[in-house]
Symmetry: C2
Subunit: 161 residues, 2 copies
DNA sequence: ACAATTTGTTAGGTATGCCTTACAATTATT
DNA sequence: AATAATTGTAAGGCATACCTAACAAATTGT
């Protein structure tokens, strides 16, 4: 039960297990390997790490289960994914596939408060469809961005941080 | 002049060099090391890679310059960063620091079309301030998201892809 | 111009995370 | 129950990307 820091990779494993459980009832290593398109050997290693971090329980040839902590963590990743996907799809009009692909990568690195803001903003937009409708109409008419000029989104500061 | 595939790390180097050039005129390895908080040794390695990929020219103890390709690539990363930062700041009301931090990570993995949509949407919002004003007002009044109920952004599908 | 300081490189090391190959253990088939 | 097929693990490798320490080269100060 070492430290709980999760790499992007381990988060992906948790998420895959979570999704597989919601479909299949029981999940084994091979399922994870297939879902993530990764060798059985690599999955075996990763599962050991998750066990040693106290996030799953798992015995050879047995079923993978979450510990309470593991379940919470997996759910967190899953919810983050869905929040992002929903934003991309419903606000930005991105295809489901591409929305998912982007969410899969961004879910591991976005900060809590940006995520919270995205969630709130998405909800707001979905409750006020006229905003998105109006926006999309203008885009389609080529009037695009502004009523008058084409302007670019470019903040003036220059820095690294 | 090997392949041109850029890892997130190499993109960070390009971006740092680009930013440093806009400030300092001339850029040397040590500047990059300081900006990215990375050892001189690691910078030395990375610069060799950028040279061998044909993105910069650089000789020991000399100044770092972009090749045309390198300049284009660096600019691309920099613009992506700014587009994201601008969205976080102006639409989501995130602090400049946190906006930058998130942009720094996401800039390397976001897809072209999601980025383009974010850019257009940000421009639209900035040209129609009433949208954001109204949204923020509701948030501040605790009326939050919807006019009636609290709903969550949760798409119903479950998948990995 | 010489010493001191700064900057750059090399060598060797660590950690992550994937791979393949070969083998072991389990499960399914008949 | 014996054999076949599947699933899991171990060992050894590879690539990335960082590090420190030691040394080399260049630059700066006086």
């Amino acid at each position: 039960m070492a430290d709980k820091n999760l790499t992007a990779g381990l988060e992906d494993y948790l998420e895959a297990i979570y999704i597989a459980q919601n479909k299949n009832k029981t999940v084994k290593g091979i399922d994870v390997a297939r879902m993530l398109n990764i060798s059985r050997a690599s999955v075996s290693e990763a599962l050991s790490k998750l066990v040693s971090k106290g996030l799953i329980t798992y015995e050879s040839y047995g079923t993978i289960s979450f510990t309470p902590t593991g379940h919470t963590e997996a759910e967190k990743v899953y919810n983050t994914h869905n929040t992002l996907k929903s934003f991309f799809q419903t606000v930005l009009n991105i295809s489901p596939e591409e929305a998912s692909e982007n969410a899969c990568k961004i879910e591991h690195i976005i900060s809590k408060s940006v995520l919270a803001e995205i969630k709130d903003f998405t909800d707001y937009c979905n409750n006020h469809p006229e905003i998105i409708n109006e926006y999309r109409q203008r885009k389609d008419n080529g009037k695009n961005l502004s009523d008058r000029k084409i302007s670019g989104s470019t903040p003036s500061d220059i820095e690294t941080e």
